[in-house]
């Protein structure tokens, strides 16, 4: 089988939501010719052991990720800004579930 990159099917990222879950979690990736096949492949590969009841597939090329080397400028500044956290408000007893 040819391993020429342009003969390979596109790569898809797979997200599965478990029966009790609220969010789809990333479980892995697979190759498929199109979206329909990607969902069926995901069903065959990633839900064999009842891992989930809902599947999302996204072509890998459409996922844009932040650059780890930017972590310092992107995330460190939030570390010492306590005033952004809602911890200084006294909740009245009437507001039970906030």
């Amino acid at each position: 089988m040819s391993t020429d990159i342009k003969n390979e099917w596109p790569l898809w990222e797979v997200f599965i939501r478990s029966k009790q879950g609220l969010d789809h979690k990333h479980v892995g990736s697979l190759h498929a010719a199109d979206a329909q096949m990607a969902i069926e492949n995901a069903r065959d590969v990633y839900t064999r052991r009842m891992e989930g009841v809902s599947i999302w597939v996204v072509e890998s090329k459409y996922i844009h990720a932040s650059n780890p080397s930017d972590a310092a400028s992107l995330y460190d500044p939030a570390n010492d800004k306590a005033y952004r956290h809602p911890t200084f408000y006294d909740l009245p007893d009437e507001v039970k579930h906030m």
């Binding site: 089988m1 099917w9 697979l30 190759h31 498929a32 010719a33 329909q36 096949m37 069926e40 492949n41 069903r43 065959d44 590969v45 064999r48």
Partner: protein, 251 residues
């Protein structure tokens, strides 16, 4: 009610599932691409699961220390009642998905009817199996369409596959004597009732796949009565060897 007829009918259903399950399992490690290797072996497992359910029931009805294993591994070729279609070699991927498509379409409509069987055990097995068969039908239809309406090579291979196995599809709807008795007994499925659905589905998928439906030709038969192609002998030799050489061996 004649229990022997019920046993024969159940064995026919079991043998079909076992043999196609075995055939599909031959792809293990040889699939065209990883995800499809997993897909076809999943289907094989589903089939073997169905076979187990039917064999367990047949063993219970047979009594006499019969078990699902003795029925699957110790019967000879002429005792197997599977359709000829399921023992046909895998060939290439096109032939395998086409065989699956013909068979899953048949199982889909068969189990839909079998759910209403007066035999509660057969009805229960049919209801449970129908869900996985629905997926097998979807999976195989899409492959027939992709390969049929694909490249020149894939279409050519699909057309070859049709020429190779079409003559084995007729037997699906030629009732064996025990099937006719099963129908009058209230627990079997009348094949003439599902043939039209099968024809319609095949026609629709072939149309979308831009494949030509073959002309009316002579159809092979005999599998249901134990008259098999030479293929079954080789399948059983491989499948039954271990149990026959080392009786009662376990994992």
């Amino acid at each position: 009610m004649d229990t022997k007829i019920l046993i024969d009918y159940t064995l026919h259903l079991a043998d079909n599932a076992l043999i196609i399950g075995h055939r599909n399992s031959e792809w293990c490690g040889h699939g065209p691409i990883l995800e499809q290797d997993i897909a076809i072996t999943n289907i094989a497992l589903d089939m073997i699961g169905q076979a187990r359910n039917f064999y367990q029931y047949a063993a219970q009805l047979t009594g006499n220390s019969a078990t699902e294993d003795s029925l699957a591994y110790l019967r000879d070729e002429m005792d197997f009642k599977n359709n000829l279609l399921v023992e046909i070699p895998n060939g290439d991927w096109a032939q395998t998905v086409l065989r699956q498509f013909f068979f899953s379409t048949y199982q889909y409509f068969l189990y839909q009817q079998l759910q209403n069987s007066s035999d509660t055990q057969l009805a229960a097995i049919a209801e449970k199996s129908l869900k996985e068969v629905t997926y097998h039908l979807r999976w195989s239809s899409e492959w027939v369409i992709r390969l049929g309406d694909g490249t020149e090579e894939s279409k050519h291979r699909m057309q070859n596959a049709i020429n190779e196995i079409w003559s084995y599809t007729g037997e699906l709807f030629i009732a064996a004597s025990y099937e006719l008795l099963a129908v009058s007994g209230g627990y079997g499925v009348d094949l003439s009732m599902i043939k039209m659905d099968w024809d319609k589905k095949v026609k629709a998928v072939f149309e979308e796949a831009t494949l030509t439906l073959p002309e009316k030709i002579w159809m092979h038969s005999g599998g249901k009565e134990g008259r098999h192609t030479e293929n079954l002998g080789f399948i059983l030799a491989e499948m039954q060897f271990l149990q026959r050489a080392y009786p009662n061996s376990e994992w």
